[in-house]
Symmetry: C2
C-alpha cells in the first residue's frame, strides 16, 4: 500500500475556534490542513485506525490502575451533517469495551424537571473510557435559543454553567474534544433528498428536520454565540468542514489522536513479580 | 479478492448443545462445519462484516418504528478464552449506536443485596438494539457452584429462574444467542504465559485467573450442568471451540448472522408521502 497522505497542519490548530471566529467565514467544502484528495483521506482513515485503537486501549488500561484520565468527544451539528458517520467510522474503530456512547434526544419529562446538566452528568465517561456525546448540553443553548425556549438571562446562566461543568470535568482528568460538523445549507438539501430517494434510508428521514432547516440562519447565530461563550482553553471548539464526509472523518480522527497523544499514556507496570508468576503458571 | 470460504455446515446446528452433550467430547482446537484454514477464516470475517452491519442497522431501524425485536448475545468462558476479541473483532464491526455492551464483573454490595437477576434485568437490550453480555447471570450458577457459594437447592432455583427470565425476554421479542467459548487448559496456560511475556499485556494479567484455573474440572462440571439445565429451544447454548481465535470469531459471527436472518428484518416503510416531501425539501 502507498504511504498515507498525512495532515500538513494540525486540525487541532487550524480548526480551533479562536476570537473573532464566525461560521460565515468558513467554507464547509474546504479541507483545512489537508492537501490530499478523497482517496488519500480514505487511506489515512484506515491507516490510523490501529494507532487510535492502541491509544484507546492504553487509556483503558491506565484506568484499571488508578489513573483518572478519560476522553470526551462532544459532537454537535445540523441534521444530516454526519454525526452518525463519525460514530460509525471513526469511533467504531476503537474497542467497544472502551467506548461509552450517549445520544441525547429530546429530554424526558423527568429530565426536563431537573437542571439541563442533570442528564448530562449521568453520562460523563468513567475513568479510562472514551465518552462520545451525540448531541449534548449544547442543545440547551442552541435549539433553545433558536426557539426562544430560554430567555437571554437563562441562556447566560447556561453558558456559565457549561463552562463551570466542563472545567470540573477537566479537573477530574477529562480531556474534552468539542466538534461542530459544519455543512452548508445546500449540502443538507442534497442529503435530505438522497434519503428520500433511497427506500433503505426513509427511516432516517424526519419531517422535523425540514422544520428546523427553516431556522438555518438562527442556528448559525446560536452556534456563533455559543462558540464565543464556551470555546475555552480547557475545552476549545473545533469547527470541522463537513460537506466532504471523508475530510470530516479524518479531521475528527486526528483530533482524537492528538488528544490521546497529549495524555502521556503508558502501559501500566506490573504490580507483581513477573518471573515468579511465570513459574506459577508454568507449574499449573 | 478471492471468494471467501464459507461454512459447509451451519454453526447454529453443529455447535448447538443438545441432549447428552458433554464438554469432554469436544476438541477445543477443532473447527466444526468449516473446512478452510486460518487465512480463509480471516477473509470470511472481513467479507461478512458489511452484511452483519446491514442486518444490525435494519434491526435498529425497525426498532424506531414500533418493532419489539432485539438481539442478545451472551458470552461465557474461562479467562483468556477470547471474549474480548469477539467483542472487538465481531461485535466491533457493527455500528456502536446499535450496540449495548454490558460487562458483568463481581457484583457490588447493592447488587448482592438483590436477587441475582436484578442487575441483569437492568441491562437487557432496548428495542432495535444488539445487547452483548460479557459474562452474565450464568456466573451465578458457574463460579457460585464451583466455590459452593450457593447450595444445591439455590442452584436449582437459579436454573429455573434463568429459564423463566430468558423465556420472558423471548416473549418480549428478544432473540437470544448463548455462546460458551471453549478453550483447553493447555491453551489457557499458553495465553497466560503470553500475557506475562508482553509488558503491554501485563495489565490484563490477574492473579485471580490463576487461582480459578486450579478449579478447571469443577468449572467444566458446572458448565456441563448449566448446559443440561438451560439449553432450551428458545435459548439454546452453543459451545464454540476457541483454541483457534480465528475460528471462534467466524463461528460467533455466523451465529449472529443466522439469528438476524431469522428475524425477517425489513427496512421500515415511509409513513409520509415521499413525493410530497421531496417537493418540500426541494423548495426549502
Amino acid at each position: 500500500m502507498a504511504e498515507a497522505v498525512e495532515f500538513s497542519k494540525s486540525p487541532a490548530e487550524v480548526l480551533r475556534v479562536g476570537s473573532g471566529f464566525s461560521l460565515e467565514n468558513v467554507d464547509p467544502a474546504s479541507t483545512p490542513g489537508y492537501r490530499g484528495v478523497k482517496a488519500d483521506g480514505q487511506g489515512l482513515l484506515v491507516a490510523q485506525d490501529a494507532r487510535l485503537k492502541e491509544l484507546q486501549e492504553k487509556l483503558f488500561a491506565e484506568g484499571k490502575f488508578g489513573s483518572t484520565k478519560r476522553l470526551l468527544l462532544i459532537l454537535q451539528a445540523m441534521d444530516t451533517a454526519g454525526k452518525g458517520g463519525i460514530v460509525s467510522h471513526v469511533v467504531g474503530a476503537m474497542d467497544p469495551q472502551g467506548v461509552q456512547l450517549s445520544a441525547f434526544k429530546a429530554p424526558s419529562d423527568e429530565e426536563k424537571s431537573h437542571d439541563f446538566l442533570w442528564r448530562i452528568e449521568k453520562q460523563v465517561p468513567d475513568v479510562g473510557m472514551v465518552g462520545v456525546f451525540d448531541r449534548s448540553h449544547y442543545e440547551d443553548v442552541l435549539i433553545h435559543r433558536v426557539h426562544a425556549w430560554a430567555d437571554a438571562d437563562e441562556l447566560e446562566r447556561r453558558y456559565a454553567a457549561i463552562n463551570d461543568f466542563e472545567a470540573r470535568l477537566a479537573e477530574q482528568g477529562t480531556t474534552i474534544v468539542k466538534v461542530m460538523l459544519n455543512i452548508s445549507q445546500d449540502e443538507q438539501k442534497k442529503r435530505l433528498l438522497a434519503r428520500l430517494d433511497d427506500p433503505s434510508k426513509h427511516w432516517k428521514y424526519s419531517r422535523t428536520d425540514l422544520a428546523e432547516r427553516a431556522f438555518w440562519p438562527d442556528y448559525m447565530d446560536a452556534y456563533n454565540t455559543a462558540f464565543g461563550k464556551t470555546s475555552t482553553d480547557i475545552a476549545p471548539w473545533h469547527v470541522v468542514p463537513a460537506n466532504r464526509k471523508w475530510y470530516a472523518r479524518i479531521a475528527v480522527q486526528q483530533l482524537l489522536l492528538d488528544a490521546l497523544e497529549g495524555m502521556s499514556l503508558e502501559w501500566p507496570k506490573a504490580d507483581f513479580d513477573v518471573a515468579a508468576e511465570r513459574a506459577l503458571v508454568q507449574a499449573s
